[in-house]
């Protein structure tokens, strides 16, 4: 034990600071839903302010610390609360970009003010004394740091538990509206929590400042270690987060004793990220808060007509062909930019098209260059080596997709960030990556013999061809089935699942495609430079990649080119020592600005769209079939719910419900609000797992079948709270209804549709649009429609699919009386012509009584009646359920018992 004690003491000190930073992070995340990637930036700014006051201006340390912590807490706390409030309602990628942008901007500002050439050191201000405990020398500064952190965390816990403001801060997490109705301003409450959270980050920065020379990146990394502590606290518990910080600190310290050499020597610096990654991979999903904060993108995707894009692309390629004639010494920069445009295209596919977040794309480029270099070292020819280095990235991308499958959203962003750091700290130094011989990696040029492509000029054209091919690939993906599914994933993963698409397959596919392309782009960039070293692949560069892809526009190919030009070409043509830092500041601020614009307003202005469309000539109109082939009658079958029970904790939402919804019939499911109708639907579709009973389709249990598989069996549905792909056109929305089943669970079938399938999808879409009278608005974005029209789009999507039983949840909500009547007629016609079944949840009794042949009545989660519409109208039990007739209520209870 005495051997371990010094390591434990050292670990407790740093662990206490990790814990302190982690507590501040969790506090702000819990109360605002915004995970602050700039937490390390706040600590960095505080450390420099403290240095300025104490060292530069000679202020007593206590005064300097107090001013620093209070100023940062108040100014940055209020600023970040305002930022968090402003980005509420933005989709996840933009919310991540806002704080990542803030981090880049803070770091760049500190760099510009203080530079990095002059070493800046804060002397240990907590005293030089020491005491000996069990033969171990312990510094008083260590003891003071530890005690301060413990006391601060304990005080915060007590404050949250016992004070009125603390109670409000806990309440704002659960229900801000309720808090507001109780007379407490949620904004003020959140502001207080941000001030406290930022104060903790600031205190950690001040405490870290004497431990190492000031450096924005290193300070940020230290505080980022708090992410691991926050993960151990499940991003929720302050006390566990603090304890997690201590555990990480102690284990990291002990790791230096236990693993002095080899790959495990990287365990100590990597420990916070190992913990973060492990927690996100294995922690039960329900223990991690915040999934509710994940919002889909409502941004309406508009792309210029292909003819316009093709003309521009032709001009761009033509100009690029002449680059070697004028680039001079900057030709390598042009080649590198072209190669990196491939990396950015891959990132666009992941971030902008599918709505995922990757903060580790530099890792893929590192894998690409290492793989390529080692493969060519082994004698593998140039082109196969290039393709193989992309293939190497695929299994790694699959591993990264695991958190995307399990958790998605923010936790995916954190997992990718942790992975990038892990790769650097633990694996960059291994022989299979950048190697231990230190001569860097040689990146050979291709050699064709009959034409010189190994020189700078020749290789530029090689990369140009690769970039054009990559652009064609990403455009083909975006325009094809996979692109539609990816955009659907970004808009509403739930709707995608209920239309038969296995979203996990889509996520893995997009990660693999993105990783493959990024590795190849990275390798080509490396070949452009002929030699690469690990220093050129720092994990924080991934943050810059990410904000760049958020800032630029124009679609995958154009966006990729623009981002690469901004990152590589701009600084190549602008002289000045700090150009790179200024650009970092610019990128950070631009990301902030873009994130602040609401999703729905972040689109090409209508007049510009119109002008571009005019310039492009007439858009090829969709050819609607004059006659739509009649669909075959649905195979007979039925949905059966047998003794269904659903519990939410102690609340029984559905209790012993039996329902049969056969094909060829419209079955009603009615009941007052809270009766359990939607819960029953959710159990039927697989959104929730029942606590009792069974759901059968065609007399086979589907209770353990996934949402998508149930849909592919023929169970379609709409939602009370509509789940449309808002960013897609009406036609694309409806097409996914038909396409989902074709994509199925087979990854290959996600990639593209066969001509026959395309024709079938087109026919199904045309028919569904015509049935729902949506042809005139087929090319409009779903987000732009009225509620009633959106209901019809959701129904059309359902009708386009190969469904045999449709679960329609309040489909007439938002329709006027005339539309409702037409809707009823439509339902009857569909059932009659196709032989499908409908289970209809509806409050409009006239529609229910008119359309349904059989009706089930739910109340308080129990089935209280079922029968024909006339029997329902005459039932006193139904009246009681709707009107609350006490006498009949007793009758219900008696009969139920």
């Amino acid at each position: 034990m005495s051997e371990l004690l010094p390591f434990i003491v050292a670990g407790l000190t740093t662990g206490a600071i990790y814990g302190l930073a982690g507590v501040g992070l969790v506090l702000t995340y819990k109360t605002s839903g915004v995970f602050n990637f700039a937490h390390g930036g706040i600590a960095t700014a505080s450390a420099y302010l403290f240095y300025e006051l104490q060292v530069q201006r000679g202020m007593p340390w206590a005064l300097a610390a107090a001013i620093t912590i209070l100023t940062a807490g108040l100014v940055l706390g209020v600023t970040f609360e305002a930022l968090a409030r402003a980005i509420q309602g933005r989709s996840l990628a933009y919310r991540v970009a806002s704080t990542v942008g803030a981090l880049l901007a803070i770091e760049a500002t500190v760099h510009l003010i203080y530079g990095i050439t002059e070493p800046r050191q804060v002397p240990q201000f907590l005293g030089d004394g020491s005491v000996t405990i069990f033969d171990t020398i312990v510094q008083t500064s260590q003891i003071i740091t530890f005690v301060f952190a413990i006391v601060a965390t304990a005080a915060l816990s007590l404050f949250l538990r016992h004070s009125r403001s603390g109670l409000a801060m806990r309440a704002v997490v659960d229900d801000p509206d309720l808090l507001a109705s109780a007379g407490t301003d949620p904004v003020r409450t959140r502001r207080l929590s941000w001030i406290l959270g930022v104060t903790f980050a600031s205190a950690s920065g001040v405490l870290f400042s004497p431990l190492l020379p000031l450096d924005p990146v290193q300070l940020t990394f230290l505080v980022v270690a708090a992410f691991g502590a926050a993960a151990l606290g499940a991003f929720s518990s302050l006390n566990t987060t603090f304890a997690g910080g201590l555990v990480i600190g102690v284990l990291a310290s002990l790791a230096t004793k236990w693993f002095p050499d080899g790959v495990l020597a990287g365990v100590s610096p990597a420990l916070p990220f190992l913990v973060l990654f492990a927690v996100l991979l294995v922690f039960p999903k329900r223990r991690l808060v915040g999934e509710g904060f994940t919002l889909p993108s409502r941004r309406v995707a508009w792309t210029a007509p292909l003819r316009f894009q093709a003309a521009n692309a032709a001009v761009l390629v033509a100009v690029l062909c002449f680059v070697p004639t004028f680039a001079g010494v900057r030709l390598t920069a042009w080649t590198t930019a072209l190669a990196l445009s491939i990396v950015f295209m891959s990132l666009w596919l992941l971030v902008r098209t599918s709505g995922q977040v990757s903060l580790c794309h530099v890792a893929f480029t590192a894998i690409g260059v290492c793989g390529f270099s080692h493969l060519t070292d082994q004698g593998i020819p140039w082109l196969p080596a290039l393709i193989m280095c992309g293939l190497i990235a695929i299994p790694i991308a699959c591993v990264l997709a695991i958190p995307a499958i399990r958790l998605s959203g923010l936790y995916l962003a954190l997992a990718t960030f942790g992975f990038g750091v892990l790769l650097q700290v633990m694996f960059y130094t291994q022989d299979y990556m950048f190697g231990s011989n230190g001569v860097g990696l040689t990146m050979p040029r291709p050699d064709l013999g009959f034409v010189n492509i190994s020189g700078d000029e020749g290789f530029f054209y090689v990369v140009l061809i690769a970039a054009v091919l990559s652009a064609a690939f990403v455009i083909a993906v975006a325009e094809g089935r996979l692109g539609r599914l990816l955009r659907g994933l970004a808009s509403s993963p739930l709707a995608l699942q209920t239309n038969g698409v296995d979203t996990n397959v889509v996520r893995v596919l997009v990660f693999c495609a993105s990783g493959f392309l990024a590795a190849i782009g990275g390798a080509l960039a490396g070949v452009a430079q002929t030699t690469v070293s690990a220093e050129a692949y720092p994990p924080l560069l991934s943050l810059t990649y990410f904000v760049l892809i958020i800032i630029v526009g124009g679609g995958a190919a154009w966006g990729g080119v623009l981002a690469a030009a901004g990152l590589i070409l701009l600084p190549a043509y602008v002289d000045g020592e700090d150009v790179a830092v200024w650009l970092q500041l610019l990128f950070g601020l631009a990301a902030l600005a873009v994130a602040l614009v609401p999703d729905e307003r972040r689109q090409v202005p209508p007049h510009l769209r119109a002008a571009i469309t005019r310039l492009s000539g007439k858009r090829k109109a969709h050819r609607t079939r004059a006659t739509v082939p009649t669909r075959e009658m649905a195979r007979p079958g039925s949905l059966k719910v047998d003794g269904l029970g659903v519990r939410f904790g102690g609340l029984v939402a559905v209790d012993g419900v039996d329902i049969v919804a056969p094909t060829g019939r419209i079955t009603g499911l009615i009941g007052p609000n809270g009766a359990g109708k939607t819960t029953t639907f959710n159990a039927c579709s697989g959104l929730i797992r029942p606590s009792a009973g069974d759901v059968q389709f065609d007399d086979r249990s589907v209770s353990r079948t996934s949402i998508a598989a149930r849909a592919r069996h023929g169970l379609g549905r709409t939602f009370q709270k509509m789940e449309l792909f808002d960013a897609l056109s009406v036609r694309d929305n409806v097409a996914i209804g038909a396409e989902g089943a074709y994509a199925g669970a087979n990854p290959l079938r996600h990639l593209a549709a066969t001509p026959r399938q395309s024709a079938a999808v087109d026919a199904a879409v045309d028919e569904a649009l015509r049935l729902c009278e949506l042809e005139s608005m087929a090319d409009r974005a779903a987000a732009d429609l009225s509620t009633g029209q959106r209901r019809l789009v959701e129904l059309a999507r359902c009708l386009a699919g190969p469904y045999r039983v449709l679960l329609l949840d309040e489909p007439s909500s938002g329709l006027d009386a005339e539309e409702t009547a037409k809707f009823g007629a439509l339902l009857k016609r569909v059932v009659q012509e196709r032989g499908v079944g409908v289970l209809l949840v509806e409050h409009d009794m006239s529609l229910v009584l008119d359309a349904c042949e059989h009706i089930y009545v739910l109340d308080f989660g129990k089935l209280v009646f079922d029968g024909t519409p006339s029997a329902v109208t005459e039932s006193s039990i139904v009246r009681a359920a709707y009107l609350g007739d006490a006498e009949v209520q007793r009758e219900v209870e008696t009969s139920g018992a």
């Binding site: 530079g115 050499d261 001079g328 390598t332 011989n437």
Partner: protein, 434 residues
């Protein structure tokens, strides 16, 4: 003192790279510039003074990773070469012609380094690259060689200085500095050396093996062990205790100049005060004020830059003071300023020899370099003699100590040199390293 050519340039390359990282802290943090991945080459021309000769100038270039991860150690080199350019112009230029220095910055990015070299040679038409402080010169060495342009002096621990015949080192490589460590420690009776090497760069991991090879080459009975450290760690107590328990007597910290004192402080707090051993490129004047460095040994390619009894150093001090008054008192000042100045002096000697003018070619400069025989540049370096077409390894080093709170030169600021037998032996060990 004749030249000793590398018989196994590739092996020495490996070793030099390993020690290069240790020396200047390739182990340092990721810089802002490398985080953005941006390219930024900046060009500046040395200030022209009233005494600057008129007429067309002799154009030379310099490339530095001054704003990259190693800024804290290398940033001052930029001032060193600019101070020389100002001084040489102020004293009438070279052969009656002014010198125009075009400074390029690569921030430690290989792509920027290659771009900078191409710009200097193809656009600016420089006759030589003087003071190579690029930590990524491996990325542009082949290109410069293909253009037959000499790279003169600078960070002599960089690999191309011992592997590429177009690079002309002005001082000892790191391999030789390790031989120097072994000899000095052996003389001090230290038999247990620990090398704490950086976690951030792969090449750092070679340091312990290089240390063993160096010790064996001079027959020193020194037990050498290594342990990886992270330059971002807030505390090095664990490593200090481990070294203390292993009864370590001397410590090399293979990280940048700001990490070394933090390690030394952590060890001092644990009552552990080994003899600190360092190479000059990573040392800092501020160490002298830290009690933990008392007795430290610093080995480098040039004599102690404060020893103004050496004529070349006195001239440097005057020139640097004229260029940057009080610059030698600044926190970022270190021996790299004089090393960069020395590179300028080496070019000056070669250009004077070869009567280089504005219309001269890079080949003319090389002729001037080959004409130098045993050149010490007024005591700034060990004797230099180059042979055409062959890489050159300077086999001598200078030693300083920290005693009584200040740096003092050992051996009267005269170099010590490895003998042929030692060089042969270390070559054999390096071959085993692969």
């Amino acid at each position: 003192m004749g030249e000793i050519r590398s018989r196994r340039p590739r092996l020495l390359t490996l070793a030099a790279l390993a020690s290069a990282a240790l020396a200047i802290g390739a182990c340092g943090s990721d810089s802002e510039d490398s985080d953005t991945g941006a390219q930024a080459g900046s060009s500046t021309t040395a200030t022209q003074t009233a005494d600057t000769p008129k007429g067309p100038a002799i154009k030379i270039g310099t490339i530095c990773s001054c704003s990259g991860a190693q800024a804290a150690s290398l940033g001052i080199a930029d001032d060193g070469i600019k101070a020389w350019a100002k001084a040489v112009n102020a004293s009438g230029g070279i052969n009656g012609h002014p010198v125009e220095l075009i400074a390029e910055e690569d921030a430690g990015d290989p792509a920027k380094g290659l771009q900078a070299a191409k710009k200097l040679i193809e656009e600016d038409k420089v006759v030589a690259i003087v003071s190579d402080y690029s930590t990524v010169d491996g990325a542009w060495a082949e290109y410069v060689e293909s253009k037959n342009v000499a790279v003169i002096g600078g960070l002599s621990i960089e690999t191309p200085f011992i592997s590429n015949p177009t690079f002309f080192a002005a001082g000892a490589s790191n391999v030789i500095e390790y031989v120097g460590f072994a000899k000095v420690l052996s003389g001090l009776g230290k038999k247990n050396l620990r090398i704490l090497y950086c976690a951030e760069a792969p090449i750092c991991a070679l340091a312990p093996k290089l240390g063993e090879a160096a010790a064996a080459s001079v027959g020193a009975d020194i037990k050498i062990s290594g342990q990886k450290i992270s330059s971002t760690a807030p505390d090095y107590t664990a490593q200090c205790i481990a070294a203390k328990n292993a009864k370590v007597e001397a410590l090399i910290v293979g990280a940048n100049s700001t990490v070394v004192p933090r390690v030394v402080d952590s060890c001092s707090k644990q009552g552990f005060k080994p003899t600190v051993v360092a190479i000059a490129a990573s040392s800092s004047p501020a160490w002298a004020e830290n009690a933990g460095f008392e007795g430290a040994v610093v080995v480098g390619p040039h004599p102690l830059h404060t020893d103004d009894s050496v004529p070349g150093i006195k001239e440097f001090q005057e020139g640097f003071d004229a260029y940057k008054p009080d610059g030698r008192e600044a926190e970022d000042y270190n021996s790299n300023a004089m090393a960069a100045w020395t590179a300028g002096k080496l070019f000056e000697a070669a250009a004077t020899n070869a009567k280089v003018g504005p219309d001269s070619t890079p080949a003319d400069v090389k002729k001037g370099l080959y004409a130098l025989k045993g050149e010490t540049l007024d005591g700034l370096t060990a004797p230099l003699t180059y042979t055409e077409g062959q890489p050159f390894l300077v086999p001598c080093w200078f030693t300083d100590r920290i005693e009584g709170g200040k740096y003092v030169p050992a051996n009267d600021s005269k170099p010590e040199c490895a003998d042929e037998a030692a060089l042969t032996k270390i070559g054999g060990f390096l071959k085993q390293l692969g």
